[in-house]
């Protein structure tokens, strides 16, 4: 076992162990508990980045593979099989970064029963790291449940008003989604008769056996709606803003930022590449639903006056772009969706964190009750504006690449151009709600309610411990925005091999098969980039 494998395992088990230590009340002092928490959030953070940098891009498939067969489940062909590939390694690093941010926020949040809070959050973190590191489907799913269950408990205990009913709604929704997708995964496994439960053998089995289109579309439907509910696909999205609204900040950060990517990850890593015909079958419906995310939910976000719900709706809206990327069934679309997932995880968690910082200063999430904050808290304003602009896809921040790539992928097929036009309206909608929020909160003069509150207690700017996590996440967003090739080359390589078959399907569809050869070079306008045509023409 080499260094990489050890830190891969460590990033999953150290948070889990720390969680158990805190849970069993082995240490009684909050001080030591905080130190333990720092260490165990810090480890996945550092190892995520390290593994991302050490990832060998020349290898095909998975790097840092860890395989334990003797888990007791080997009879069921389930093995503890971990590793990272080009898609999961940026997401793994993102989970570590967001976890660090959420962890520091939690450690300094001063909630009641801090040790229990940290224990649950660490457990969640362990699940999140494990989720993206799992090759085996069983553990992929299991880690997801590990991360999901603390969410319910934490909303139930530390949530805001009407937390009980929201926790219940969330539980029903998410377990339903998880159940449906589990059904899809099992059906997939049983039907192709794969030797075991992991991704590579599944895809081998599928490619050897082949699958009928109708079977593919049934299974893809199960996976799509199961995962879709988990990612807040329109119209199954109502749990998300309400849930994030009620959840404690660190939970909102981890859930909206990382856990929600579980479904998209499943669709991109498993469903779309293995079931290309199914993906094609559902593509038209998915395009419309994703458009619902972008336009419908986007406009609902415009009408929010509560900052936290606005962020929640905004995040649901941006999930629409990821779905659009998946729905176009091409490696460009899927690759851009991965880029957007990474960036969105960072930006949305930063937004939730800053909203929390605002709340601790103003005592409210109602934007109309704030105002003129920029003069009191210039640093917070600076971070908030940067985070807002990152969210709405300003170049220079990571989100731009994914969004632009999705738009680009929508332009490839003529029948998708309508969706390109409608989805691109989203850049205006998100600018409207984002900048309205900035103007309401930070610009202008203080509102009446706000200034009376200000008289009573002094409003201070970001403290050191609030600045560090925000700085880490913002720096990652900027890095992703300014030097994207580091991430994109990893994603690109993996996505190309996975989506080879789909790209080919499209290629053969758009090329008219019956053209006479000399005319063919002229008729390819829509499918072949003309540059090649231009270069291949000997007369030029």
């Amino acid at each position: 076992m080499n260094f990489d494998q050890i830190i891969l395992l460590g990033s999953i088990f150290i948070p889990a162990l720390a969680s158990i230590v805190l849970f069993l009340e082995i240490c009684k002092s909050d001080k030591i508990a905080k130190k333990i928490a720092y260490f165990s959030f810090g480890f996945p953070f550092i190892s995520g980045i390290l593994l991302f940098l050490r990832f060998d891009n020349s290898l095909e498939g998975y790097d840092f593979v860890v395989l334990f067969s003797r888990t007791g489940l080997q009879e069921l062909n389930i093995h503890f099989h971990l590793g990272l590939n080009g898609i999961s390694s940026p997401l793994f690093a993102m989970a570590g970064i967001v976890g660090m941010g959420a962890g520091i926020t939690a450690i300094h949040s001063g909630v009641d029963r801090l040790r229990l809070y940290l224990a649950l959050l660490l457990f969640m973190q362990s699940g999140l790291m494990g989720l993206f590191a799992s090759i085996d489907l069983f553990f992929y799913y299991l880690f997801h449940e590990f991360a999901l269950i603390p969410t319910f408990i934490m909303i139930g205990i530390w949530g805001s008003r009407d937390r009980k009913s929201i926790a219940l709604e969330l539980t029903i929704y998410l377990t339903l989604g998880a159940l449906v997708s589990l059904g899809g995964l099992i059906a997939l496994n049983v039907l192709v008769d794969a030797p075991n439960f992991d991704f590579p053998s599944l895809s081998r089995a599928v490619s050897e056996l082949g699958m009928e289109s109708s079977v593919q579309s049934n299974i893809f439907g199960l996976l799509l709606f199961g995962f879709g509910i988990l990612v807040a696909l329109f119209p199954f999205h109502t749990w998300a803003p309400r849930g994030y609204d009620a959840a404690p900040t660190s939970v909102s950060m981890l859930h909206a930022g990382v856990l929600k990517k579980f479904g998209l990850y499943g669709l991109i890593q498993i469903a779309s590449p293995l079931l290309p015909d199914g993906a094609m079958f559902w593509s038209p419906l998915l395009l419309w639903l994703a458009l619902g995310n972008v336009l419908f939910v986007g406009l609902v976000a415009v009408s929010q006056s509560n900052l936290k719900s606005m962020i929640g709706y905004g995040s649901v809206m941006h999930m629409g772009y990821c779905f659009l990327g998946i729905a176009v069934c091409s490696s460009l679309g899927a690759g851009s969706a991965v880029m957007l997932m990474v960036a969105h995880g960072l930006s949305v968690s930063l937004m939730f964190m800053l909203a929390h910082n605002l709340y601790t200063r103003t005592g409210t999430f109602e934007m109309d009750d704030m105002g003129g904050m920029a003069s009191k808290t210039p640093l917070l304003a600076c971070f908030f504006i940067a985070a807002t602009l990152a969210t709405i896809g300003l170049p220079g921040f990571g989100n731009f690449w994914g969004e632009f790539g999705v738009f680009l992928s929508l332009g490839e097929q003529t029948q998708h151009r309508l969706f390109l036009f409608l989805a691109a309206l989203g850049i205006i909608i998100s600018a409207i709600f984002g900048l309205r929020a900035v103007a309401k909160i930070f610009f202008g003069s203080a509102s009446e309610a706000h200034s009376s509150r200000k008289k009573n207690n002094q409003i201070s700017d970001l403290s050191f411990f609030e600045m560090i996590p925000a700085g880490i996440i913002l720096a990652s967003l900027l890095f992703l925005g300014l030097w994207p090739v580091v991430v994109s080359q990893r994603v690109d390589r993996e996505i190309q091999t996975r989506f080879e078959s789909q790209d080919r399907t499209y290629f053969s569809q758009t090329t008219p098969p019956c053209c006479p050869p000399e005319q063919e070079s002229l008729d390819l306008n829509s499918s072949l980039p003309s540059k090649e045509k231009f270069l291949s023409n000997p007369e030029y």
């Binding site: 690759g335 332009g411 409207i432 900035v438 202008g444 090739v485 996505i495 980039p529 003309s530 540059k531």
Partner: protein, 612 residues
């Protein structure tokens, strides 16, 4: 060569980062750093311009790659780029120096100068970029820096609204631009400008009007043309040097630069449309400027009108002359904006021209340089504006008579409102105590004025520039020189500015605190003041249509999805529970009955009685 280009691009970014990280409280150091940076940019830009001669220079590397989308980070330093690079670096440097004086009392100097550095970075990015997506990236970034700088005085409601409006209006333009880029990518298979121009020449059938109009949306947003022009006058809520740099000399002109960069993609229909659109903007903005009282808004409308001239020149197929006017306009408009800044600074941020008066005697330096700007923009013979504007008029006269009529009326109007501004502000008697107490600004502000005034006078002689800058405009100028009716045009041009100037003298010289036009032609005045109700229409749309629609969707979501679907499915589950509970009646003969029915049913089924 690419190292110099990188220096030009990264210097301001570095300065912005250093300011943000270490100098938030050290405003004076930050301002000096920023000014030094702008000097460095000018230095490297001159090396790049003079060093590359007339050769085009291109360089690129991979920046991003997913599947078939490979984005290269590259530089293309050709004629238009060199010209704009010179304008941005030169005017930018002067405005930075001016800002030292203008912003000397400001509390948030480091934010201001940091913002200027971000702006320089993004603007230089547009200038040097070699492909459309890279242009788009920096395009959005200049929008962002403009947003930041408009919001400089963020505690005023006006600035808060204006910054938001500017960004969103730009986003609407970018929406079309983005779609245009996507379509370009899939039509041509590349977004690189050089490859695009080769392909467009190779296969003209690939061009389409929709495509180039979509791309032109970017220009409409950034250059504040109809129907997105509403943001520019409001953007005057920012500090005056920002208005000079961003909203007059460079950023808004970037729209024209974009058009010139992609002119090979334009079809005739699209070009004609742009010519008409630009010319109408030239006239419309002139009427708006005629009745404004705020000195900066007059200049803003005048910028809109001049951008319309550039668009008209582009639309008539002489992009070189559009660039030429871009350059001379940058000189005299920056001069006038800085002059107005000097006036505003001296009069304690009073901006109503009817509260000025007699300022030429109080601040002779500002007054005279301002007059030079007024003369140049009005097209007085042998000043810079004369050469560029009359070249546009001449081309229009020969090629597109309807456009010429609009542009010519606009030219008379330009002289009228500019002289109006000059007479009311600088001549007559002071009309407020602020104006009476005004003193000439310090030399750090007047020296940039002097330099710009020199360029406004002599900037029209293209042979004074090195070949590497003027090369791109010479072809089109020679084309214009060969057109007939030259002499006739000189007469007409001279008449235009004389008529405007004398009209202004008759109307406005020695006027009181009200606008004389208001009493002489009240209905005309009202019509001009309404600006054709664009702001009202957009306001109506946002408040009465968009926001209620968003709220309606919210209610719909609450009722249909949360209410009907979620609560409804919970209800269905509850109903099922009730039904199944009803079966557990707890009486033995009821269970017995169902048992017998079940068994019989099974037997029937098993014996094939119910079909196969």
């Amino acid at each position: 060569m690419e190292k110099i280009a990188f220096c030009i691009l990264l210097l301001p970014l570095l300065s912005a980062l250093v300011t943000l990280l270490f100098m938030r409280r050290k405003g004076n150091v930050a301002s000096l750093l920023s000014v030094a940076t702008s000097g460095g940019i000018l230095f490297f830009a001159l090396i790049l311009i003079l060093g590359s001669g007339v050769e085009d220079f291109a360089w690129d590397t991979t920046w991003f790659k997913i599947a078939e989308w490979e984005l290269r980070f590259g530089f293309l330093v050709d004629g238009p780029a060199r010209l704009l690079l010179f304008v941005v670096a030169f005017v930018g440097c002067l405005i930075h120096i001016f800002s030292l004086g203008y912003m000397s009392d400001d509390l948030a100097k480091s934010r201001y100068f940091g913002g200027l550095s971000i702006f320089m970075f993004s603007m230089l990015g547009i200038t040097l970029a070699d492909n459309l997506i890279m242009i788009f990236i920096f395009w959005e970034l200049v929008g962002f820096s403009s947003y930041l700088l408009i919001a400089h005085y963020f505690s005023s409601k006006e600035a808060a609204q204006a910054s938001k409006k500017a960004f969103i209006a730009n986003r609407i333009g970018d929406f079309g631009f983005l779609i245009g880029i996507v379509l370009t990518f899939w039509t041509f298979g590349t977004v690189n400008l050089v490859e695009l121009s080769d392909l467009a020449e190779f296969d003209p059938e690939l061009l389409s009007t929709i495509l180039c109009l979509a791309l032109a949306c970017g220009f409409i947003g950034k250059s504040a043309q109809f129907p997105l022009h509403v943001w520019l006058p409001d953007a005057m809520a920012g500090p005056t040097p920002v208005s000079a740099l961003i909203h007059a000399a460079t950023m808004v002109a970037a729209g024209i630069f974009l058009l010139v960069r992609i002119d090979f993609l334009f079809t005739n229909e699209a070009s004609n449309l742009l010519a008409v659109l630009g010319a109408s903007m030239g006239l419309y903005a002139g009427f708006c400027a005629l009745v404004q009282r705020d000195i900066k808004k007059i200049l803003a409308y005048s910028t809109l009108s001049q951008l319309g001239y550039m668009a008209a020149a582009f639309g008539m197929g002489v992009p070189g002359i559009a660039l030429f006017h871009l350059m001379t306009h940058a000189f005299f408009k920056a001069l006038m904006f800085l002059g107005s800044g000097s006036v505003i600074h001296a009069c304690h941020h009073e901006q109503d021209i009817f509260n000025y008066g007699g300022l030429r005697k109080k601040m002779p330096f500002t007054g005279i340089t301002f007059l030079v700007g007024v003369l140049a923009i009005s097209g007085v013979n042998f000043l810079s504006g004369y050469f560029s504007k009359d070249a546009i008029l001449l081309v229009a006269y020969n090629l597109n008579p309807p456009v010429f009529v609009i542009l010519y009326l606009g030219a008379i109007l330009t002289a009228l409102y500019m002289f109006r501004l000059y007479f009311i502000t600088f001549e007559g008697m002071p009309r407020s105590s602020d104006a009476d107490a005004a003193r000439e600004s310090p030399s750090i502000m007047t020296i940039p004025l002097l330099i710009l005034a020199v360029f406004s006078i002599f900037g029209g002689y293209h042979s004074l520039y090195p070949q590497s800058i003027a090369g791109v405009i010479i072809d089109d100028l020679e084309f214009a020189a060969q057109l007939p009716n030259h002499l006739w045009m000189i007469v007409l041009g001279t008449f235009a500015w004389l008529a405007g100037g004398l009209g202004a003298k008759y109307l406005y010289f020695d006027s009181k605190r009200t606008d004389p036009l208001e009493s002489k032609a009240p209905s005309f005045f009202k019509l001009c003041s309404s600006k054709l109700f664009f702001d009202e229409i957009y306001g109506f749309y946002i408040q009465r249509i968009q926001d209620p629609f968003a709220r309606f969707l919210e209610v719909l979501e609450l009722l249909l999805i949360s209410g009907l679907l979620v609560k409804g499915s919970a209800g269905v589950a509850g109903m099922m529970a009730l039904i199944s509970k009803a079966c557990y009646v707890g009486r033995i003969h009821a269970y017995g009955f169902w048992f017998v029915v079940g068994t019989l049913g099974f037997l029937f089924y098993a014996s094939g009685f119910l079909g196969n």
